[in-house]
C-alpha cells in the first residue's frame, strides 16, 4: 500500500483537527471502505509506534452479546448497525440474511472508545467484526460528532447510491454505504442496458405528441384557436389589415397542404402554436358561434378553394407549399372576392344554373368514389370567412374545416375547378366595394399569415 495515505490522514487529523472516520476517508480518497479501515489501522499503529501526539480512536464491534448469560438484544445506534451490516468485507445477500437472523438472536453492533474496547469484547460471546471506526485528536464525549462528520459526505454521496444496482436490489435508499466503495455486491443485479434505457425514455416522450393530434379533431372554437402549424397567421391576421390581394382559396390551399405537413412538422411548430392560440382564441371566441352557422357556405367554399388548390398543387407537398406561398405573395383580388363575401357564393348558386353546384359537388363526390380505390385523406384547412354580422359590420374569421382530399385526384380536380373559379370570382368583384376592402384585408391577413414562418417576416415585408 502506498505510504502517501499516511501523510494525508496525518494532515486531516493533526493539521485540520478533523475526525477521520473510515467512511469519510473512503469517500475523500476514493477507496474501498475496507481499504479505508486498513488505512486507519495502519496510521494508528504507525503513530503509536512513533509515540507522537496523542490520538484517540473509536472502534466498531459487532457480535453476539451476552449479559449475565442471557442474550441481549440491544443496539446502540441504528445507523451504526445498518452501516456496519453493509460494510462487511465478505458481505453478500445470503450473509445479510444471516446477519439479520443473528440480530434477532441478540447480535449487537456498537461503536466504542479505544479504552473500552477490550472490556466490551470480553462481554461478547462471539465477536464477528472489529475494526477502526474513526481517528481524531480530541477525546469525544459522545458519538454525536461521528454522525456529524459523515452526514454531509453521505448526503453528497446519496446521488451515487441509486446508480448502483445493489441499492435497488436491496431496496436501501438512504444508506450511503451502498456506493462504489461499499462492500455490498449482488450478482443478480445488473445495470439497465442501453435498449432498456431508450425504451424508458420513449415512454416518457410518447405523451407529448398526443395533445397535438387531438387539436385537429376539434371543431368550432378549436378551429379558431388552432393554427397549430401556423400560429403566426393568427397573429399576423391581427396586425396585417391591409388587403393584400390574395386568393383566399390559395391561402386555404396552403393551409391544407401545411396541415398535410402538420404530422411531420407539428412538434417544432407546437411551441409557436401555443403562443398564438391565446390570440386566436381571442378572435375565435368572437365568431365561434357564427362559425357553425356558416358551415353550409363553407362547404361550397371548400369546393371552390379546393379547385384552386388542385390547380396550384403538384404531387409533391413541398412544391405545393412553395406554390401556396408564392400565391400568397402575388395578390389576386379577383380570386379573393369569393372568400370575403359570404353572400356571393349563395348568389352564385341562385344565379348559376343548377349544374354548377352539382359541378362543384362533383369533384367532391367523385373524390370519395375515386378515393375508395385510392388513398383518401381528410385534412383540416384554415379558411377565412367574411360575413356581415347583425350590426352590419363585415367580420372576417378564420376557422379550420375538415375536408377530404386525395393526392392523386388533386390534379384532376384542379383542372376542373380552375375553369370554374374565374367565373364565380368575377361576379363577386362586381358587388359591394366595401366587401372588396374586407376581402383585401382578409386576403392580406391570410396571405401574410400563411406565408409567414415567423414574426420577422412581417417586418421583412414592410
Amino acid at each position: 500500500m502506498d505510504e502517501l495515505y499516511l501523510d494525508n490522514i496525518d494532515e486531516f487529523v493533526n493539521d485540520h483537527d478533523k475526525i477521520v472516520t473510515y467512511k469519510w476517508l473512503s469517500l475523500t480518497l476514493g477507496v474501498h471502505v475496507n481499504t479505508a479501515k486498513q488505512m486507519l489501522y495502519h496510521y494508528l499503529d504507525h503513530k503509536r509506534k512513533e509515540s507522537s501526539a496523542q490520538l484517540h480512536a473509536t472502534y466498531l464491534v459487532s457480535g453476539k452479546f451476552e449479559d449475565n448469560g442471557q442474550t441481549v438484544r440491544h443496539t446502540i445506534n441504528r445507523q451504526d448497525v445498518f452501516r456496519h451490516m453493509f460494510d462487511f468485507r465478505y458481505f453478500n445477500f445470503m450473509l445479510l440474511m444471516f446477519l439479520l437472523l443473528m440480530l434477532l438472536q441478540g447480535h449487537k453492533v456498537s461503536v466504542v472508545k479505544e479504552d473500552q474496547l477490550e472490556d466490551f469484547k470480553s462481554k461478547m460471546s462471539l465477536v464477528v467484526s472489529v475494526h477502526v471506526y474513526s481517528v481524531q485528536k480530541a477525546l469525544l464525549k459522545d458519538s454525536g460528532p461521528l454522525y456529524s462528520v459523515d452526514y454531509d459526505a453521505v448526503k453528497d454521496n446519496l446521488k451515487n447510491c441509486t446508480n448502483y444496482p445493489a441499492a435497488r436490489v436491496l431496496n436501501v435508499p438512504t444508506v450511503c454505504s451502498v456506493c462504489r466503495y461499499s462492500a455490498i455486491r449482488c450478482a443478480g443485479a445488473v445495470p439497465m442496458s442501453s435498449l432498456e434505457l431508450q425504451q424508458a425514455r420513449q415512454i416518457h416522450q410518447v405523451p407529448a405528441p398526443e395533445p397535438e393530434h387531438k387539436k385537429p379533431a376539434m371543431n368550432g372554437e378549436a378551429n379558431a384557436s388552432k393554427p397549430s402549424t401556423k400560429p403566426q397567421k393568427g397573429i399576423m391576421g391581427m396586425f396585417a389589415n391591409k388587403a393584400a390581394p390574395k386568393n383566399q382559396d390559395n391561402v386555404k390551399d396552403i393551409k391544407t397542404e401545411q396541415k398535410e405537413d402538420a404530422p411531420v412538422a407539428e412538434a417544432p411548430k407546437s411551441k409557436p402554436a401555443a403562443k398564438a392560440n391565446p390570440m386566436m382564441n381571442f378572435f375565435g371566441t368572437q365568431t365561434a358561434s357564427e362559425c357553425c352557422q356558416q358551415s353550409e357556405q363553407s362547404q361550397y367554399r371548400r369546393a371552390c378553394h379546393k379547385s384552386k388548390r388542385v390547380v396550384d398543387s403538384d404531387s409533391e407537398e413541398e412544391k405545393m407549399e412553395k406554390k401556396k406561398r408564392r400565391r400568397i405573395k402575388k395578390p389576386e383580388p379577383d380570386s379573393s372576392d369569393e372568400d370575403v363575401i359570404p353572400d356571393s357564393p349563395q348568389q352564385m348558386k341562385t344565379r348559376e344554373p343548377s349544374p354548377s353546384p352539382e359541378k362543384e359537388v362533383e369533384p367532391v363526390s367523385h373524390s370519395p368514389q375515386g378515393n375508395s380505390q385510392k388513398t383518401r385523406k381528410r385534412r383540416r384547412v384554415l379558411k377565412a370567412r367574411t360575413f356581415v354580422d347583425d350590426e352590419g359590420c363585415i367580420v372576417t374569421e378564420k376557422c379550420y374545416e375538415s375536408e377530404s382530399y386525395s393526392e392523386t385526384e388533386d390534379d384532376v380536380q384542379a383542372t376542373k375547378q380552375a375553369s370554374k373559379d374565374p367565373v364565380p370570382a368575377k361576379r363577386p368583384a362586381s358587388h359591394k366595394p366595401d366587401e372588396k376592402k374586407s376581402q383585401k384585408k382578409t386576403s392580406a391577413n391570410a396571405n401574410k399569415g400563411s406565408k409567414q414562418a415567423s414574426i420577422m417576416g412581417f417586418f421583412q415585408k414592410k
Partner: protein
C-alpha cells in the same frame, strides 16, 4: 437573484432568528464540551440534522434564552459586532473566550434557491468544530462559570439602556476585566460566508489557566 436592503426588516428578522437559534445551540454545546456544567444535565437533541447536546436545567435554559432575546434586536439592525461566550474561573477571570464575529452585508442578495440549506450546512460545520475544540484547548480549572458579552456600536448601547427588552433582565456595560484577557492565545476555529451573514469563530485562551 433577489436583492434586498437592510431596510427590509422582515429579512433582517429572519437572519436574526437563524443566528439566535445557532447561538443558543452553540452556547449549550460550549458549556457541554468545556465541562462548565456536569454532563448529566445535558441531553442529546437534534439540530441541523445532527445530534447536539442541550441542557435540561430550566434556569440555565431561561438565562440563555433571555440573553439571546435581548441580542436579537441588535442583530436585526446589524448593531451587534461580536457575541462572546466568556468562561471564567472562580475569581471571575476569563480563561476562555469563544468569540462569534458577525457581519451582515448591506445589500442582502439571494443568489441561490438552496440558500437556507447551504447556511444549515455551514452552521453544522460550526457545531462540529465546537465539538472537537477540546483537541486544541487546554482543560479548564474546576468551578468555572460563564457569561455572554455583546460588542455593539455606541448608538445601539444607548438604545439598549433606554429600552429594556426584557423586564428584570438588565444589560450592563461589561467590566474591563471581563473584556480583556491576559496573555491570550488566539485559536481560530471556523469561518463561514453566505449571502445573508458572515461569521467567524475563534477562541481566546489564557496561556496559564491554573
Amino acid at each position: 437573484m433577489t436583492t434586498l436592503t437592510r431596510q427590509d426588516l422582515n429579512f433582517g428578522q429572519v437572519v436574526a432568528d437563524i443566528l439566535c437559534e445557532f447561538l443558543e445551540v452553540a452556547i449549550h454545546l460550549i458549556l457541554y464540551v468545556r465541562e462548565v456544567y456536569p454532563s448529566g444535565i445535558f441531553q442529546k437533541r437534534k439540530k441541523y440534522s445532527v445530534p447536539v447536546q442541550m441542557s435540561c436545567h430550566p434556569e440555565l435554559n431561561q438565562y440563555i434564552q433571555d440573553t439571546l432575546h435581548c441580542v436579537k434586536p441588535l442583530i436585526e439592525k446589524n448593531d451587534a459586532e461580536k457575541v462572546v461566550v466568556v468562561i471564567m474561573d472562580k475569581e471571575h477571570h476569563p480563561v476562555e473566550r469563544f468569540v462569534f464575529e458577525i457581519s451582515q452585508p448591506t445589500l442582502l442578495s439571494i443568489s441561490s434557491d438552496t440558500l437556507l440549506s447551504h447556511v444549515e450546512q455551514l452552521l453544522r460545520a460550526f457545531i462540529l468544530k465546537i465539538s472537537v475544540c477540546d483537541a486544541v484547548l487546554n482543560s479548564n480549572p474546576p468551578g468555572c462559570s460563564f457569561t455572554v458579552l455583546v460588542h455593539t456600536r455606541d448608538a445601539a448601547t444607548r438604545n439598549m439602556e433606554k429600552v429594556q427588552v426584557i423586564k428584570d433582565f438588565p444589560w450592563i456595560v461589561a467590566d474591563e476585566q471581563e473584556v480583556h484577557m491576559q496573555e491570550p492565545r488566539l485559536i481560530p476555529l471556523k469561518t463561514m460566508t453566505s449571502d445573508i451573514v458572515k461569521m467567524q469563530l475563534y477562541v481566546e485562551e489564557r496561556a496559564h489557566k491554573t
